[in-house]
Point group: C2
Amino acid sequence: MIVYPGLCVGLDPDILRLPAHFSADPSSVAPFLTAIVEATRGVAAAYKINTAFFEQYGHLGMDALYLVREAVGDAYCIIDAKRGDIGNTSAAYARSVFEDLRADATTVAPYMGSDSVEPFLAYEGKRVYVLALTSNRGSADFQRLQVQGQPLYLQVMQTALSWQGPAERGFVVGATHPDELADIRRLFPDAHLLIPGVGAQGGDPRQISQANAGGSALVNASRSILYADQSERFAEAAAEEAQQIVLQLSNS
Amino acid sequence: MIVYPGLCVGLDPDILRLPAHFSADPSSVAPFLTAIVEATRGVAAAYKINTAFFEQYGHLGMDALYLVREAVGDAYCIIDAKRGDIGNTSAAYARSVFEDLRADATTVAPYMGSDSVEPFLAYEGKRVYVLALTSNRGSADFQRLQVQGQPLYLQVMQTALSWQGPAERGFVVGATHPDELADIRRLFPDAHLLIPGVGAQGGDPRQISQANAGGSALVNASRSILYADQSERFAEAAAEEAQQIVLQLSNS
């Protein structure tokens, strides 16, 4: 049996892009995203809450973040926060995402090394996605630099697998790099991957599913699902777009 | 005239370490830190709010964050958040720190490259500290790797200076690496540095001031100042500890 990547729906609220019948106000964020979550519950394998898009609205945004976390409920919940700091600071961030926000998984930035990530890895039963090769243009600046005969992102993956802690390790590999994704799959067939960048960022679901070669993975799409339609049938349109991506992921 | 590094007081609240007359509760954070800020106002050149230590307390922690930001007032305020993500996400984080929280400066993680940092650099009149060589043990994992004949942290500094945007560029260089700090000063005499790791983390102010060789810099101490005394004279003790560090910084 071939395992196809699951779809992760990214929750990145932008009040300037909401359907026309919502007011362009942070108080619209929770009702909008709750409708998206309810409409896509049957098709999404996971939801990814992007903290930046809530923090940008200050107190009202944080209120919305907690309401959206409630709406996600028992579905698999990734808090995409890309934190990373010295040990006692990372321990505080880990408490925030795993205890206060009850995430099943989170993303972390690797630049500060072992003791910046191990406080997250200390949480048994959780999953920690370390940034490897990200979907953006700037990923070329450092992630592709050659270190010890290989690109830095492979060095990061190897090193991160040696870090201590019972949490499951995963890696972020952007959907905009299908060739490297295929290479990563050959080198790390068992690694769980979070693959963002499908849809608005240009990654192609069929190509990604092929490159992933049946490995354990979640493919994330955000804007193409959230803003699929500007009318009152936005949630239905979001579910249709999500189903379309799932079909493409399983039809590679 | 020799310019000595200024002292930055790091605001990293831990409710388990508050003076005994405070209840070990998030509602104690704002009154505790407000007293610290008031007592050290004459000696601190800047304050650094570490977002993790507020986020860990959820809603109550975020309430405290806004109150502490008010207490810092017109003093130079660094929001130490170490954010970094794809462009539209970093733009949201930049709005959070520079618009909602009215920071004068912030810290960013460089791993995702140019377009993950440029949304912060777009803010004229603000300062953006890019992580270079951090104070923690894990800094050896990636930051010291040789790339193109030099350690990655120097590559990061050179590359970051080429990124677009009117904001001032600064760099984080840990106080626990005085030899590398001296090298960095020779290579980048004009760079503004944020030097954390004095006090509880083991960095020595005299050594740091010497290695910094009169360059523009802020030296950050957090725990050694905040938790200088467990009695009702904690704020006075914090001010004495802060004055002691300033004396050591100017007496190298």
